[in-house]
Amino acid sequence: MKKLLGSRWALGAALAAAAAFPFLAQAVEQPYLVRVAGVIGLFMILGLGLNFTLGYAGLFDLGFISFYAIGAYTTAIAMRAHVPAPLAIVLAVAITLAMRALLGLTILRLRGDYLAVVTMGFGEIARLVINNLDSLTNGPKGMQVRPWRPLACISPDPNVQYYLLILAGVSLAVVASRRIESSRVGRAWVAIREDEVAARLSGIPVREYKLLAFTLSAAFAGLAGALFALWEQFVTPESFVFWESVLVVSIVVLGGMGSIAGVLLGALILVGLPPLMQWTLSAEWINYRYLFFGLILVLATLFRPQGLLPSARRESELSS
């Protein structure tokens, strides 16, 4: 499976199939599937982002969704100020990166559980600020986002347009992850994860590299947030609750920390399953989805702690 995903041809074929998907879904008159696939794609980008913090640097983060929120709200505010949409996306990524760097500078002295609690606290604070800062965010009423219709020449359906944009975003995130992972920076992260003292004494500025991994995560969250806001044309604090952070962590853990293919699979399962259940069983089931996530995660940690598609290195680290 890993070899299959690793080969260039297989990747090209997967990409072509993914690009053809919305047209197929329309052909069989299931346009709803395009929306579901778009949301899965957004969480793939988020998962790949969190993978830098959780997978590469080994830092726990339970407030990641707040950066998705910052990306979405930055876009909404920029659109309200009549900034062109592509520039609004860039702005969202930049501001999300800056906020994340600031947070990292202040809290990365902490480790493990303490870090998890503080990031969770930040997530809640961010949501409360958005909820109460009426002048900027319009509070709990939410914000309308001026419509932007890219790729209108390919399809008139905004869902298809945004599906394709998100697919491009996922591809970008995969390529960026792969390239950084295999570089000098990626090697430094592995070294830090395996032995911090030895890494420092091999010349790696450990604190700076942790901050780097932590910060880079936000670029992906910012991008996903911007696409979400433009697609939905509406943002509200309700979309960025604590459980969404847990969902992103679950995606990375279930798929395999540090594994790009694993994160993609994790998002496909955890985001794709609830709508499928709702569709095949009944609408009632959606209320129990976190019960199922819990069950899946417990089973995964018991029987496959390295994740469904682990990176070779992580698997080896866990077994030693």
Partner: protein, 259 residues
């Protein structure tokens, strides 16, 4: 001070206290370019603590460490590595789930500069640096005699090879001073003489070597000079023959006569 060259490392009145415990106290010494110097002393004499202060693991409580005439005490470890001091560890600390080759490539970190844009855009400068790092890392593996094991995970290497891999990783940062913390610990006689030969070849490359060593045969064999530590204080220094005849050294190791 005696020695073949100018002082590479000069330590003045160095101390590291942990509360009331004076792990290292008032240590003065200097090491010259091209020397092989051993630090010996009973267990708990403060040798490893001394090395930890030299390499920035501990900040030191008092005193100066001058490397090439510039103060380095209290600098972050990675800065000290960049200035040319590299080390190995008493308990082997390799990146166990990286290959031998990758371990040495990590050791090259402070001598390389490609950051994010290079790998993201696959620039020519990035590709050139990566291939240079890889071929240099192979040369260092070759130097310590591990070339054939480059693709093995570090944790799967035999014990003696792991010690040598630590040396290769340290050498990859092109140090002027290489610090070895008990390099022969747990080794059999063949592995020991291998390591002694390796230390000599490291010196031939122009690298000064400072080591903690317990096996007196090894100490007598390779050291130009010896420092003796006891209770955090340097109690003697000199050529190996002089030092083992020193009454204070014998007392530190064996106790006072008639006591």
């Amino acid at each position: 001070m005696t020695g073949p060259g100018p002082a590479l490392l000069e330590v003045r009145d160095l101390a590291q206290h942990f509360g009331g415990l004076k792990a290292v106290d008032s240590v003065n010494l200097s090491i010259h370019e091209g020397e092989i110097v051993s630090v010996i002393g009973p267990n708990g004499a403060g040798k490893t603590t001394f090395f930890n202060v030299l390499t920035g693991v501990y900040p030191g409580t008092r005193g100066d460490i001058l490397f090439e005439g510039r103060p380095i005490r209290g600098l972050p470890s990675h800065d000290i590595v960049a200035r040319g001091v590299a080390r190995t560890f008493q308990n082997i600390r390799l990146f166990s789930c990286m290959t031998a080759l990758e371990n040495v490539m990590v050791g090259r970190h402070s001598r390389t500069s490609q950051f994010l844009l290079g790998p993201l855009l696959r620039t020519r400068a990035y590709r050139e640096e990566e291939s240079a790092v890889e071929s240099l890392a192979k040369e260092f593996l070759d130097f310590v005699g591990l070339r054939a094991l480059g693709n093995e995970l570090a944790k799967n290497l035999p014990y003696g090879a792991q010690r040598k891999l630590e040396v290769a990783r340290a050498l990859a940062s092109e140090p002027k001073l290489l610090i070895l913390d008990e390099p022969t610990a747990g080794m059999n006689q063949t592995e020991c003489s291998d390591l002694v030969a390796l230390a000599r070849r490291v010196r031939e490359r122009g690298v000064t070597v400072l080591l903690i060593e317990h096996q007196m045969r090894v100490v007598m064999d390779i050291s130009d000079r010896v420092f003796v530590f006891d209770y955090g204080v340097k109690i003697a220094e000199g050529k190996p023959r002089q030092v083992v005849a020193d009454a204070r050294v014998i007392e530190a190791y064996l106790g006072r006569e008639g006591a």
